[in-house]
Symmetry: C2
Subunit: 336 residues, 2 copies
């Protein structure tokens, strides 16, 4: 509560009996300063508990040590892990992340964009809530921009997305390795690219093994209710099914409910696998869910790295896919 004036470098310099410039060098660990002098300055700084004014530092150096994270997912399900990954990669001491949530609103996004630019962020990470291409926020902005999760529609931009096709491949390979052959798929929302990418990986891998997805083949939503209904339909139409791939953990939760209601053993009779590895869902079910983790933190780390490269001027534009990670649990492997 005691709102005392902040101590400045000048105060430190005076206390140490040196010039401001020398104090600056001493504290910034530059080598052209005497050992004894440095000690005195550091001692003074510590005694006064000096905190350098980042604003002034940045204004002088031309860099803000800040990157903007322009997010669009209302619940932070993607942006928080991506933020944490980015913090890790940047090294929290050097870079701070300014998080703005546009709440899926274009106006708000433009607005946040301009305040971030006004704050002279050194870079920008744009996080979307789905992997469908989204409009670019602009071509020649004064700072490097990296799109994470949702790629930019402009191929000149730098984008990083999870490899959903690869994710589809992984789950099928897992099921095949378990000896499953009669595999059905509960699709997600038809309007999502992720739904189609996962199907592409699934069907191509099945095809290579001479197999096909069991019917039915309809799309739905990402909800548990859809998972319940779709699982019902599968049991009716393809009663010999031995594995169900669910397009999301929510769907899988619904499917598990139906299987349980019908007395179908999981994983003995039917193995269940899904995507997202949303732990609150995946760990609570009976049995726990085998699921593909998109590794948002890694996405965030990579995005941060690309921002750095862009600052240095060495980035190739385009959309880059990051591999996902299969987390095996009891819904596909007994006791896992």
């Amino acid at each position: 509560m005691s709102m005392a004036r902040a101590v400045t470098l000048r105060d430190v310099a005076e206390a140490a009996g040196v010039s401001v410039a020398t104090a600056s060098k001493a504290l910034n660990g530059r080598d052209d300063v005497g050992a004894e002098t440095r000690r005195r300055v550091e001692e003074a700084a510590a005694r006064l508990s000096f905190t350098p004014n980042a604003l002034a530092r940045n204004l002088a150096s031309g860099q803000t040590g800040t990157v903007g994270l322009l997010a669009s997912d209302l619940d932070g399900r993607f942006s928080i892990p991506i933020l944490m990954g980015a913090e890790d990669a940047f090294g929290a001491e050097r870079m701070s992340v300014l998080l703005c949530d546009a709440r899926e609103d274009v106006i708000r996004e433009r607005h946040h964009l301009s305040t971030l630019l006004a704050r002279r962020v050194d870079g920008l990470i744009v996080v979307g809530s789905r992997t469908d291409p989204r409009p670019s926020i602009g071509r020649d902005l004064p700072v490097p921009v990296v799109y994470a999760y949702a790629p930019s529609a402009d191929p000149q931009d730098v984008s990083i997305v999870p490899d959903n096709v690869g994710a589809g491949i992984m789950v099928v390979e897992h099921l095949l390795s378990l000896g499953r052959r009669r595999i059905a798929h509960i699709r997600g929302d038809v309007t999502y690219a992720a739904a189609h990418d996962r199907i592409a990986g699934i069907t191509s891998t099945l095809g290579a093994a001479g197999l096909d997805l069991l019917p039915p083949h309809s799309f739905g939503s990402w909800s548990e209710a859809w998972g319940r209904a779709a699982a019902d339909a599968i049991l009716a139409e393809s009663p010999d099914v031995d594995a169900i791939i669910c397009a999301s953990d929510q769907i899988a939760r619904g499917a598990l409910d139906t299987l349980r209601d019908r007395g179908v053993g999981v994983p003995d009779q039917v193995a269940v696998v899904s995507f997202d590895n949303w732990e609150i869902l995946a760990l609570g079910s009976r049995p726990q869910l085998t699921s593909v983790d998109m590794d948002f933190e890694a996405l965030g780390r990579l995005a941060a790295q690309r921002v750095f490269e862009s600052i240095a001027g060495t980035t190739t534009p385009g959309v880059e896919s990051r591999p996902c990670r299969l987390v095996i649990r009891g819904s596909s492997v007994k006791g896992a």
Copy 2:
């Protein structure tokens, strides 16, 4: 990608053929500037798409227009809605929020604290992941600090917490209004203050109605697995139960599973209510969950308001409780 030098006020002034000072006044809407001159300056600024450098502006003004949000919940479940509420209250155009996640790590928290102070944030909101008092981050910091969700252990600090006692009262009143009398409670983690506060509200309200909680009375964890086990125990020990209050949505999901397995109708035979209103869980179940929402956004708005007041110097320290909100759905009222 074209990393052109940012345009400065000076560029605008030259383009408009005026001095920097005049340009500044014109753009900041001060009245001592000619109408025609102002027009020319504004036109030039627009043409060059001038964005004032917030750093420089802030360095001069001594205010950064930035508040720090020091969070500790790894998944952003609390901090994101609180952030959004704060953004709303501040008005996104005037204030930006710098989000730092300490990941429940004291060292990291100290570290983030110092970088936030170095950035000269105008205020600080500290968000914890549980309502138990947490150590104060320090008494005489150069900026106002408001604790949200997790109160500070120092009564001299300003804290805002959800009213968990009131939440307990609300659910009981709801159940009583539905005619339920044989009420059991599945407790959460015994180490959490929230678990005890909710019980306090529950038992006092029941007591006022001449009722008692049905056994068993043991604590557990916040998990679905505990919810399943505890519901089993309740049915065994108190088979005439007509309502179960679950300490969290996760617990409620587990309880619903058990009730379904046992063929107990919800809400006909047993009404189920819970706390958190975590929509991913509350909306996916059969039936959907009646749950108490802690209204984090309102918490964030209030925190922002308190920060403002503290800047102005008019805040009374202490812990303030915010009322929660009961969201009624099908698990307690048929068809709701």
